[in-house]
Amino acid sequence: MIEVNQCSKKFGMLQAVNKVSLQIGNREVFGLVGSNGAGKSTLLRMMAGIIRGDEGNILVDGTDVYENEKAKSSIFYIADDSYFPANFTPREMAVYYKNVYPSFRMQKYEKLMKQFHLDERGKINRFSKGMKKQLLVILGIAAGTKYMLCDETFDGLDPVMRQAVKSLFAAEIMNRDFSPVIASHNLRELEDICDHVGLLHQGGILLSQDLEELKFHIHKVQCVLSDSQKEKELAKELDVLSIQHQGSLLLITARGTRTEIMERIQAKKPLFCEILPLTLEEIFISETEVAGYEIKNIFW
């Protein structure tokens, strides 16, 4: 388990990460979502032991990760903009990682390289961005680490490869103790794969929950009420994240279980009432709106 306890990091005047606490459990896919500049990459770099927090600590299986070879040997970090030593081939990279990761599996690497149809002897600096990402995922899987920290790894992958990588993660989770942490803006991608979501905004964590639990506790309802007084009463009774009007149709996004919300609405005797499915993207927008991050605040 990776435990992030009250971690903060400041770059000059900029508070990149502000007292973030979250836990990444074993054998789960953790999605780290957040607005631009929310601190996702900084948090991942802190988890990878590249930078040290100003306060708080990050424990990987109970030990501090910074400058700790044992803890870091269970983490494979894939940066958004990755670096490969000049003139290295995938094979040389594999040998390099084999020297530093004790559990590196060469056979696994060779097998995956064949599956992904990547040229083992070609120079990496001639690879496309997507091919480099694929190679890193392969190397990360072959490294046999317990945790894989992926910063925007799905960017640049074509839909087939995205699916292939997702399948690869699923297979690894099935076969061994493996927990990928994926930081991304692409919430639709994450929705398919993540078990748990951490939502970062302006350096702080807005929520960290299982995706199912998150969806269980936030709902979107469309209904038609007989008068505006009832709408006002409903807004007070429910933990509303957003209310939108489409003519007489009212769209409410609120926290609470389906039963709780429906009971309150039914009590107002609506003319029409229906629960709509809520996507991760909608949850993100609703939650960040509450935190003041909405489109009208950006442009107007």
């Binding site: 990878a48 590249i50 400058e67 044992k70 940066a79 670096y83 000049a86 040389e92 530093v100 990761y101």
Partner: protein, 732 residues
């Protein structure tokens, strides 16, 4: 288990990653060692050096030649290795890659360091081995040479580590290429620039400043830059003076290793791209750059104005301009933002104030530089550069009969001794100089008020301090007497006489009659006899005799002296390297043995009393700048000539520790049987005769005729044209 062997495997990977470096270094060392060896040996064989000479030259190649060429490649190796292994720290992408892998930074640091050493030592040892083999094939091989090769490797390895860690430290404390480049230049040149600045201030504001490199300036110039320190290590080893120098250099290497190690492992990765990684270094660099720059520009601006008050104003102006400009430029590099230039305005003001205070400190001599004089208990040796006053070469005979000849050199410092008498005599010079300084005597006037002599005080702590003092004839006499009494100075001063008489080429002397005479030109035995007599006389002479009034002056010339064999003066075919030497020796009346031999010579007149002076022609100055001269006055009267003979002396016989008087523009003596001799002076302690003073007055009153000084060469002609009667008429 795999982690434990990381370093070895990592080094292998590093070698694979940077294989171009050992290839370049292999070529470099190939040129520096085997190619240089083949070139040199080819030359030597072509010049027919003997086997013994070849051995000496070849050994010297390992002690000096390869040391220089190898040092140049070592510097390149240190630069290439340090930059290629650590410059990833300037790229956040690379930092993320290397610092995310499960390897401790300390381990990473040492694996990179060892990779560098392998890159350096591998090609080095390979090429050194090849060089030894080539030498052995050509008949030059011994265990001693192997030892020299090993020592040379150690010296170069120390130089490599010194420069390598200095560059690594620069990379570790800086965050981008611009700042890295600036700091790199700073580390290698800062000491030299600061030393020049301090020297400039000392020369401008301290009147007793001597142009000798010592103390802080010497350390700054030679030991602060890793490059110059490495070069000095090579020099010291080459000269066999490594003892006492190696340990401090090793300490510097250790300090640099520790500093670069901690700077590396503590380096916050997120600061990559910023100018400086550690904020405290900003303040340190700011102070180190801004204050000296201000002082430098202040000094520069003070050079142009003519009058003192405007010079001060311009100096302050230049100083402030330098401070503000350098501070602003540094801030732009630090902040990369023009708007933040004056964020640390308090530091700017502080730097400005400190620069002004330092400049004022130099101006008012706060450290009492000019007043400084060492205490007697602290001084190990006093030396001076006054040897050129009695110019003689230095000669020392070696056990094999060859000589070490040191050419007389104005700048060479000669040891005088360390007695209390000597110190007090020098102190008199210091006090006199300081008195003049206090009386606001200008620097140029100060130098004209006596002879400016540089004194060196070697302290018991090992440091040497140099000062320039004004020395008049009496102080000079006191110093010389004190030095002669101590013993060693006399030995060094007259070391030229140690040369075997068989190499004595000629003796030329000038005595009381003012005529230069070559002695015993064709009589070698007599010259040898005279040299032996002179040696004995000098050996027996005490300090008072040797600083008395000379009665003659000898120029001894030696030739065909076999010099000590060194690689620098090797002559092909095993021939000796022969050279000459010369020296001047005063003859004193107490030199009984040598004077007796001189008196045997019939043509030689030791004293003016021994010759028949027919007349004396005197020309007086009628203007202060000697542009207008009087017509010559001729004296032929017996009494006048007798009086003149008693007081006249050739100026050549007046030593530095005496002063002579010359109230005329010129005095020519016409001696019977000899050529007329010009330029006579009045013997020290004697007074100008009354009849001369009277004529001088008459000349100045215009009673005597006058000539332009350009006509002085025609004085003889004028004299010839004037009859005795006419001269007497004028006189009357």
């Amino acid at each position: 288990m795999k982690l434990k062997i990381y370093s070895g495997k990592q080094i292998k990977m590093n070698i694979k990653e940077q294989v171009w470096i050992p290839v370049i270094l292999l070529i470099g060392f190939f040129l520096a060692f085997p190619v240089a060896e083949l070139l040199m040996m080819g030359n030597w064989f072509g010049m027919n050096y003997t086997y013994d000479q070849l051995q000496i030259l070849y050994e010297n190649l390992w002690k000096d030649g390869f040391l220089r060429t190898g040092f140049a490649i070592t510097v390149i190796a240190a630069l290439l290795n340090s930059v290629s292994e650590f410059w990833y720290l300037y790229s956040s992408k690379k930092v993320d890659f290397y610092h995310s892998i499960p390897v401790k930074r300390s381990r990473m640091f040492f694996s990179r360091m060892f990779t560098g050493i392998i890159f350096f030592a591998g090609p080095y040892l390979l090429m050194e081995f090849l060089t030894v083999c080539i030498g052995a094939m050509r008949g030059c091989f011994s265990l001693h040479l192997m030892k020299l090769a090993f020592y040379m490797f150690l010296i170069h390895l120390i130089c490599y580590l010194l420069i390598y860690f200095a560059i690594v430290l620069v990379i570790c404390i800086t965050g981008n290429f611009l700042m890295g480049g600036l700091c790199f230049v700073g580390v290698f040149l800062y000491g030299t620039v600061l030393s020049s600045l301090i020297t400039g201030y000392e020369e401008t504001y301290f009147r007793t400043y001597a142009r000798m490199l010592y103390g802080v300036c010497k350390v700054l110039k030679r030991d602060v830059s890793p490059l110059f320190l490495g070069n000095e290590l090579v020099d010291k080893y080459s000269q066999g003076e490594l003892k006492g120098f190696l340990f401090p250099v090793l300490c510097v290497v250790l300090v640099l290793t520790a500093a670069s190690f901690f700077a590396y492992i503590k380096r916050p990765s997120e600061r990559t791209g910023e100018a400086l990684i550690y904020p405290f270094t900003q303040v340190v660099i700011r102070i180190l750059v801004v204050i000296p720059t201000g002082l430098g520009t202040g000094l520069f601006f003070s050079l142009f104005p003519e009058n003192t008050s405007s010079r001060d104003a311009w100096e302050i102006f230049g100083l402030l301009v330098g401070v503000i400009l350098s501070y602003s430029l540094l801030e732009i590099v630090y902040q990369m933002d023009f708007r933040k230039i004056y964020v640390h305005w308090v530091q700017l003001i502080l730097c400005g104030v400190l620069a002004i205070l330092m400049a004022a400190g130099f101006k008012t001599d706060v450290i009492r530089y000019d007043r400084y004089f060492p205490k007697s208990g602290q001084v190990e040796m006093i030396s001076w550069n006054g040897v050129n006053m009695e110019s003689s070469d230095y000669a020392e005979e070696k056990a094999d009969g060859r000589y070490v000849i040191g050419t007389n050199n104005v700048e060479a410092m000669i040891d005088l001794g360390n007695s209390e008498d000597l110190l007090q005599a020098v102190k008199k010079a210091a006090d006199r100089t300081y008195k003049n300084i206090k009386n606001n005597v200008g620097k140029e006037d100060l130098e004209e008020s006596g002879r400016m002599v540089t004194f060196g005080f070697t302290m018991k702590s090992g440091t040497t301090i140099y000062r320039n003092y004004i020395v008049d004839s009496q102080i000079l006499k006191d110093i010389l007497q004190a030095a002669y009494r101590e013993g060693d100075y006399k030995k060094d001063r007259y070391s030229i006489l140690n040369i075997d008489s068989k190499y004595l080429f000629s003796i030329t002397g000038i005595f009381g009659d003012g005529v230069y005479t070559t002695l015993w030109e064709r009589d070698k035995e007599k010259r040898t006899e005279f040299l032996e007599a002179l040696r004995q006389d000098i050996l027996e002479a005490d300090a008072e005799i040797l600083t008395g009034q000379p009665c003659g002056k000898l120029y001894l010339s030696f030739g065909q002296i076999p010099q000590e064999r060194t690689p620098d003066n090797m002559v092909p075919d095993g021939r000796e390297f022969l050279s000459g030497a010369g020296g001047m020796v005063y003859m004193f009346p107490q030199f009984s043995r040598s004077l007796a031999l001189l008196e045997e010579e019939e043509d030689l007149s030791i004293s003016l009393q021994d010759v028949d002076v027919e007349s004396a022609d005197v020309v007086f100055d009628l203007s202060e700048d000697a542009t207008v001269l009087s017509d010559p006055v001729q004296y032929t009267g017996k009494e006048e000539l007798t009086e003149l003979k008693n007081i006249l002396i050739p100026p050549e016989l007046v030593p530095e520790w005496e002063t002579f008087n010359s109230p005329w523009a010129d005095l020519t003596l016409n001696i019977r049987g000899k050529e007329a001799v010009e330029g006579w002076a009045i013997r020290p302690g004697e007074k100008t005769p009354e009849f001369i003073l009277l004529d001088q007055e008459r000349a100045q009153e215009g009673i005597l005729g006058e000539n332009e000084s350009e006509d002085s060469t025609d004085l003889t002609t004028n004299l010839e044209d004037t009859t005795d009667t006419e001269v007497m008429d004028i006189y009357e």
